[in-house]
């Protein structure tokens, strides 16, 4: 009887969360997909005062920022995690690093944004720029990348390392030739999911990268306007253009599709790597 009740409760909980997700995705797509799929919108010039503008520079900003951040946060996070998992003895320093990254992951993104503005934008004189935003997002996503990597590294059987060391490999050679390749599917999944989070981030970027640009940024030192930040801008102060609701909805739908594709791609990519390397588990 209790079993049955519990089962029903869990089913209901699952149904509710699925329904909420479906509702959000549905409403965003219904309101914006029609706009988002038009090339003249996705790649078009934005308007500041009149209607009919596109989101070309924002689309480009999002891709640029995601790439830039990924190139910084993945090597850094994977390297740090590899050190923690493979080389460190459980000492004070390691506990401090873990404690630090755990704390980092519970700070709200707007705080990162303000820190980024004070430190990177003003103190480091980077100005509103893709680089300032990418650095801010690197700090923000470092804990996730590290945790995912460390988990995939720790999941690798000790026997692989033992085999490598017994053949005369050093710890570093073992990490590079055996541990990292075997952890690659997990690391890839983590990296791609992080890319999705970067794309969806707005609060940390409003104060570091910018919210509106007319032309696509070319240099990382130029200001830009990632899509999520631009959506926030349209909803709060974008009423200068009469069709802000249309632009925001289209942009939201485009962003949603991009993130969904990334998440789907993460699973497929990890599966492909597993298959290529012959990892069966």
């Amino acid at each position: 009887m209790a079993d049955r009740a519990a089962g029903l409760f869990f089913k209901a909980a699952a149904a509710v969360s699925l329904a909420v997700l479906a509702f959000i995705i549905g409403i965003i797509l219904v309101k914006g997909l029609g706009t988002a799929v038009r090339p003249s919108f996705l790649f078009g010039r934005p308007q500041a005062m009149k209607e009919g503008g596109g989101i070309g520079p924002m689309f480009f900003s999002s891709l640029y920022l995601t790439l830039l951040t990924t190139l910084m946060v993945v090597p850094l996070g994977v390297g740090a995690a590899l050190y923690l998992a493979e080389f460190s003895r459980d000492g004070r320093l390691v506990r401090l690093v873990r404690w630090g990254t755990e704390s980092l992951s519970s700070i709200s993104s707007v705080v990162f944004g303000i820190f980024g503005m004070i430190f990177f934008v003003i103190y480091m004189r980077l100005g509103y720029s893709l680089l300032a935003g990418a650095l801010t997002l690197t700090l923000m996503n470092l804990p996730t990348v590290m945790r995912v990597t460390e988990e995939s590294i720790r999941a690798i059987p000790w026997s692989y390392r033992e085999a490598s060391l017994s053949l005369g490999a050093s710890r570093w050679e073992t990490a590079r030739r055996v541990v990292l390749p075997a952890a690659l599917p997990g690391i890839t999944t983590g990296a791609v999911l992080t890319m999705g989070r970067i794309m969806g981030e707005s609060a940390a970027l409003v104060y570091t990268v910018g919210i509106f640009v007319r032309k696509p940024p070319l240099s990382p030192l130029q200001p830009a306007a990632p899509m999520a930040a631009n959506i926030w801008h349209l909803y709060t102060e974008g009423a200068l253009i009469p069709d802000w609701m249309r632009v925001a909805s289209g942009e939201a739908a485009a962003l949603l599709v991009m993130v969904l594709l990334l998440n789907l791609g993460a699973g497929a990519l990890a599966g492909a790597i597993r298959k290529k390397m012959g990892i069966l588990h």
Binding site: A163, L165, S166, L167, G168, A169, E173, G278
Partner: protein, 300 residues
Amino acid sequence: MPCEADEEEVRGVKVSREALLEVMEGESDLPPDDEMEGEKDLAQGNKMELSGLSLSYGGKKVLEDISMPIPARSITAVIGPSGCGKSSLLRCLNRMNELVDGARVEGKVYLDGEDVYAPGFDVVGLRRRVGMVFQKPNPFPKSVYENVAYGPRLYGVRQKKVLDRIVEESLRRAALWDEVKDKLGSSALALSGGQQQRLCIARVLAVQPEVILLDEPCSALDPISTQRIEDLLHELKEMYTIVIVTHNMQQAARVSDFTAFITIEEQGSPGRLVEFGETEEVFTNPRKKKTEDYITGRFG
């Protein structure tokens, strides 16, 4: 081949100077067969030698004062009840026990007369010369080819041609070539357990070791795969010095030339060497009561 054999004997002399001076002096005329067990093969030289070896993990003694030779080009079996430290003993020979926190070794382990625990001794070189096969087959999650090529690549072999030759030769020696030659590129994890274990042997052979340590290599395998590995060991001892740890006494009796029996007094006390000798002697005419009790199944 004859050349290699000569070289081995030269090494043998060098080794034995440490511990077996008398035997070596009589090298030219081999001692008669009815001499004490082991002696005629000792004349061939010992590849390795343990002298007063003790091992402790975090202050707890696991092995106490083990002294025994490991004769060249023969199979030495280490038997004993579970928990007597026989696997730990094996790991002292290639310094794999160093990977365990708090492991401490006392005494000496000689390889060709050189103490492998001497300060400054090249561990990487040691592990290359003394290869190891583990209890559970542990191929890398890579292709069959990459598994065998792992060691050579580590030591800087880059040329495809050379690697191809090493891979084929090693797989042939491990009696696996015919079964995998058409799927060198597919995952090693797709092979059967017995094939995986032979692949691990091929992986060790590819770095051209002098000694091969096997830690209960058949305990996870079916009888047919076990048979194949045992046949293989017989062939390999022509070229390599082999040490096998096994809890299967029939296996020790079947495959080995020499047997070392290690046991513990009681749970938690360190393992001690009870008897070392020619396998036939140890099994048919043990010198110690404890050995007899163990091999007749009255204990352990």
